[in-house]
Amino acid sequence: MRRAVALAAALRFCLGAGSACAADAAPVTEVAPGIFVREGVDEDVTAANGDAIANIGFIVGAAAVAVIDPGGSLEDGESLRAAVLAHTDLPIRYVVMTHGHPDHVFGGIAFESDHPVFIGHVRLPAMLSDRGTFYRHRLAAALGRERVGDFVMPTILIEDRAELDLGGRILELQAHGVAHTDGDLTVLDRKTQVLWAGDLLFVRRVPSLDGSLTGWLTELAGMKALPATQAVPGHGPPLVPWPDAAADEERYLTTLGSEIRELLAKAGDIETAVATIGQGEHDKWRLFDDYNGRNVTVAFKQLEWE
């Protein structure tokens, strides 16, 4: 049965004469029982990749489905939705938004017809209010207006912790302090001990800092103590061992911090910081040159107030 549905999706099932074909189903991997991940490419948004650059996916329980990060654009969300429909007939009851960056949440609009509960960090609405319009314009400039829908605001906000019951499957949601962004949410699947880390975990692709360097290291330390054995990073392979896979990111962030503090102690300025800090990490990450200078700028501006 499941195979038949999946086959139909692969063939682009059409809804009837004259109607538009549904989107191609995103290629997802079942990384653990009932946990499906679409691996994003390690690129910035382009017209060719359609902003399918983040790891997104869904978790299936006995009674319902939770989408975790609906994707980077209307189109990306539609293809994830097609993948859900290809794998289960259960209702999509929840769409969890791990944070406010467009590559993770601009696909939310594709799920509106399922009337799910959109779940986010208590400070996610403020971030989307501040930046959502800007993000939409930037996405539209890259993809074309018709491929980018409006962004969706969360309808349930998490201030600390919450549990979602998908039917015989409990997801533990945790809201974090300022780290990757001001509004990071993680999901722990109790049954498989898989931690859906969102962009609190980058593997292979250089982390991008849009929150607090020290806060991120604090949250990472807390996450390492969770009862999880594997993790779904926001960028990188669809499943990695936990907490071992946090080592590279932790080393990168710690290196930025110690090198910047050393420079500040020598009365160095932000221009010097951008040119020199973190360069020993250059060959260890994809997109390093696109993000390291900005990370240093953000971290420097934080640490110069210590």
């Binding site: 609405p125 403020a126 989307l128 209010s129 501040d130 930046r131 959502g132 319009t133 800007f134 993000y135 930037r138 962004f151 605001m153 300022v178 962004t181 001001d182 849009d210 929150g211 607090s212 806060g215 009365a267 160095g268 300025d269 932000i270 221009e271 951008v274 200078g293 900005r294 240093v296 700028t297 953000v298 501006k301 934080q302 110069e304 107030w305």
Partner: protein, 262 residues
């Protein structure tokens, strides 16, 4: 006076947003409009040898673009004007120097909203104007990403730091002011209102009765404005920093000059 200038500036930009693909002629025309709005018909000379403007050719973070202005010449400089031509409020800052300033170098950090020319114009004591020009690729520094941590920004509002930077031999100081410098350009999707602007309008540094500099600033300065400046002569007299923002808040702090006095 300053508000009138800015209003004229905004009028110019109402012609349309700057685009990456606009050509040199458009950029030059924008500068001509802007310079007339600020300086009227006064002659502006080539700044070579008098003023230089340095900034990264492509901004890493458009909300925090470091800018360095050097003034190597022997002439006494009265004021420096910094424009980011295609920004919504193009006159980013006007520095007026007093007798306690060493005017050879200034640094600050600005927001850059589009690919744009930037200009630094020096006004000498005898009233001559000299301009330096620079092209920078950046976008979204004004309309996007505000504070990384809004709660912290409010909690720290008005705090200041003064530190010595650069070579130990030079009297170069950096003033940091914690202020979100909200530019009022982010729209709330629920109310369709813009977040109210709240930005630093004036930063005045004095040493005793002597002025170091008085900076009239605007929304184009980065969050947590940072000014690096030089101090003339060595003395143990402390510095006083006074900051006023557009919400009529005032912040004042005295500093012993790092490395001098106590």
């Amino acid at each position: 006076m300053k508000r009138i200038i800015l209003a004229v500036g905004l009028g110019i930009l109402a012609l349309g947003p700057a685009r990456a693909e606009e050509d040199d002629a458009v950029r030059e025309a924008r500068w001509q409009d802007l310079r007339h709005a600020i300086f009227g018909d006064r002659k502006i000379e080539d700044g070579a040898g008098v003023i230089a403007l340095d900034a990264p050719p492509r901004a890493l973070d458009a909300a925090t673009v470091p800018v360095t202005i050097t003034l190597p010449g022997p002439d006494r400089i009265k004021s420096v004007y910094l424009t980011i031509d295609a920004n919504p409020s193009p006159l980013a800052g006007t520095f007026h120097f007093g007798p306690a300033a060493d005017t050879h170098e200034l640094r600050t950090r600005v927001r850059v909203d589009a690919y744009t020319l930037m200009h630094a114009v020096a006004e000498t004591e005898d009233g001559r104007l000299f301009a330096a020009e620079r092209f920078i690729k950046a976008s979204g520094g004004c309309s996007a990403p505000g504070s990384k941590d809004p709660a912290l920004a409010l909690q720290r509002l008005g705090q200041m730091k003064l530190k010595r930077v650069g070579e130990a031999s030079a009297d170069t100081l950096q003033l940091l002011i914690s202020h979100p410098n909200y530019n009022g350009m982010q729209m709330d999707q629920v109310t369709r209102n813009y977040t109210p602007a709240r930005f630093v309008q004036d930063i005045k540094v004095t040493r005793g009765d002597a002025l170091v500099f008085d900076l009239e600033s605007d929304i184009s300065l980065s969050e947590d404005p940072a000014i690096t400046f030089g101090l003339a002569g060595k003395t143990a007299v402390p510095l006083t920093v006074e900051v006023h923002d557009s919400a009529a808040a005032a912040f004042k702090q005295d500093f012993d000059v790092p490395g001098q006095g106590s």
